[in-house]
């Protein structure tokens, strides 16, 4: 392989490998993948910083372990369990991707295809989980881009009516307690309550920006996962067909999609931190 490269003069053919003297001793494709990921990191950082600024600009914010406490198959009041599962799915798919890259270095075609197949399944499973989560928030809990039914009490009081699910008439609550305004037949029912001072009030909607931030940021990440899965499928098919065996740089495509896939996992670490943990 090395003699092959030496025999060729630094003509156009070698431009994609960075020429004879490779900048940063890496191929053109890999360097550009790193810089693409850097620019993408700034895009995500911009979104997450906007989230932080808007979160700090309101007195209260929806409590994540209350908002994200439902799981498929009827699980309720299980804070963060489902999103932790989603994180595991992504971490595992990242590990199987490293295995695929390792098999690529050994030029083991079957190994590459096998581990990429598992990675694709992991990515698809993550997308499935996210679809369930979005469906639950949109169709069951009725959160929209501009209406946020997840509120937080700013003072203690007693409910004057119940919602027929979790809250009964006469239930008391303290400041900082979260609630969900239920939507029945297309109408939000803001429950009336009496504060400790005897004032009658009704449940207020939560910060307006929460829905827009949640759907845009997790949606943008989900779109990255989706395009990642599409590219993984294309590259897995190419590997299977033996295309990379014939290439001078072997399975470098697998390495490059691997970088992208780990980046998607990396971004999830911070989305997970901002939306679910903090």
């Amino acid at each position: 392989m090395a003699t092959e490269t030496l025999q060729k003069s630094t003509t156009q053919q070698d431009a994609w490998e960075g020429g004879d003297k490779k900048p940063f001793e890496a191929s053109y494709g890999k360097i550009m993948m790193w810089y693409f990921l850097l620019s993408d990191a700034f895009t995500f950082a911009g979104f997450l910083i906007a989230y932080a600024a808007l979160r700090f600009s309101v007195p209260s914010w929806p409590v994540p372990d209350f908002v994200f406490s439902t799981t498929p198959f009827g699980g309720h009041h299980l804070p963060l369990i489902f999103v932790t599962f989603m994180s595991f799915v992504l971490i595992i798919s990242s590990a199987t991707m490293v295995r695929a890259v390792q098999e690529g270095h050994r030029e083991n075609k079957n190994g590459v295809v096998f581990w990429m197949f598992l990675t694709i399944i992991g990515g698809a499973a993550f997308l499935g989980c996210q679809a369930w989560e979005w469906n639950n928030l949109i169709n069951v809990e009725h959160m929209t881009l501009h209406t946020n039914p997840f509120g937080t009490h700013e003072e203690a009081g007693t409910y004057m009516e119940g919602d027929g699910v979790d809250i009964k008439e006469g239930d008391s609550f303290t400041a900082g307690e979260p609630y969900l305004i239920h939507n029945v037949d297309g109408h939000y029912h803001q429950l009336k309550y009496k504060t400790v001072d005897g004032e009658v009030k009704q449940q207020a909607f939560g910060p307006k920006t929460f829905g827009a931030l949640f759907f845009f940021i997790t949606g943008f990440h989900g779109f990255h996962v989706l395009s990642g899965v599409v590219f993984l499928i294309i590259i897995a098919v190419n590997s299977f067909s033996g295309l990379y065996e014939k290439r001078k740089n072997g399975y470098e495509m697998v390495e490059k999609i691997g970088l992208y896939w780990h980046f998607v996992d990396l971004v999830w670490v911070f989305v997970f931190l901002a939306f679910y943990l903090l």
Partner: protein, 139 residues
């Protein structure tokens, strides 16, 4: 890439997976602790205490993914620095925008307070204006 044997590299992947999974579980435990689920009631202290550790854990996970899974450790320092150093710009962006957000919140509260203030005496613009001209004429 890696420099060890194939078997070593294989083991390193599963080791990395276990480390990342355990950190994630510890993070969830810290988060729930901060929100008052694990014994101690939620307070500003528990929230900030948990928050600090959550941020440290997340950055460790980021380091681990970049250096071990993406093999940044095997790249030359020029590539490493040109990708990682620009990210330091974000440190100021985070501080500045959190300060900005806090200021938006303060302003919003100020406007709300001003709007709910009761005006004690009602004097119209005309009254004041004509009173002043009379006073001037008299002078």
């Amino acid at each position: 890439m890696g420099h060890g044997s194939y078997e070593d590299n294989k083991k390193a992947v599963w080791k990395g997976l276990v480390i990342l999974a355990i950190i994630t579980l510890v993070e969830v435990a810290f988060s729930l602790f901060g929100k008052g689920y694990l014994g101690i009631d939620q307070s500003t202290f528990t929230l900030y205490f948990a928050g600090l550790f959550l941020i440290i854990f997340s950055f460790y996970k980021a380091y681990y993914i970049i250096y071990k899974f993406m093999h940044m450790a095997d790249e030359v320092s020029g590539l490493r620095l040109s990708v990682l150093l620009p990210c330091l710009l974000l440190v100021w962006a985070i501080i500045a925008f959190i300060m900005e957000g806090t200021s938006w919140g303060e302003r919003r509260a100020l406007i709300e307070n001003k709007n709910s203030e009761q005006v004690k005496e009602k004097t119209s613009f005309n009254d004041t204006y004509f009173m002043n001209t009379k006073e001037i004429n008299n002078a």
